[in-house]
Symmetry: C2
Subunit: 107 residues, 2 copies
DNA sequence: TCAATGATTCAAATATCGTTGAATTATGGA
DNA sequence: TCCATAATTCAACGATATTTGAATCATTGA
């Protein structure tokens, strides 16, 4: 991932609705969720949700597919992994960082 | 870290200048850097840099101290670690995530 | 105390982001 | 084909964020 891709992904996640949408989809797993289900679960208007789903998708964090008249959004785990790797790469160059991020070992 | 803290930190990092400033300070380590040195290294005007340093500091990602007439900024590794932990916490709930983020094991 | 240096704050202009309702596209079933 | 459903796109408005030069604050050394 290039610097601009990282910035785009960070910007996409740096919004209350989008962060909640992304987390909901991470929890939902491979089955993903429809905009209708997400909108109901998070109490977000269809138009507003559509705008944010587009932002997340264009940032590369979500994958979209269709099932009949439903669209299905899923978290792109590989992309999230790449973002984590980029941040971790810089985070772990110095000694203090290793001590400060012990949770990384959970992976 | 609360959701709002996470959003603030992500928003702070989601900007070209601020991401470069933060990375420069991570590389600089405990000694930190002055705004003058950062401005020269990254070719950013003093006023603009000051604005972004304030953003990063208020987001909790930087620590500020004074040495004579120089200010010294340092990356807050603990905060960065907490941010990584929050993202990792959600990232690692499902199986796909573990496979997608192998670099986490470098920590 | 005064001048010089390092850095920030302020105010104004520009650019970008976020929300909303109305209109539009896509699909499935009668 | 026609209607209902699921979701998006469009346009306009208001809210935020970013940049810039001028002014201000803090500190050191003469």
């Amino acid at each position: 991932m290039e610097e601009q891709d990282i910035i785009r992904a960070l910007a996409a996640l740096a919004h209350e609705i989008r962060l909640r949408v992304f987390r909901a989809l991470v929890v939902a797993g491979p089955d993903g969720m429809t905009p209708g289900a997400l909108g109901e679960a998070l109490s977000v208007a269809p138009t507003t949700l559509s705008f944010h789903l587009k932002e997340l998708t264009q940032a590369g964090l979500l994958l979209q597919s269709r099932d009949g008249r439903h669209l299905i959004y899923r978290a792109d785990y590989a992309r999230m992994g790449a973002l984590m790797a980029y941040l971790t790469e810089n985070c772990c160059r110095g000694t203090p960082c290793v001590e400060a991020a012990p949770s990384c070992t959970n992976c």
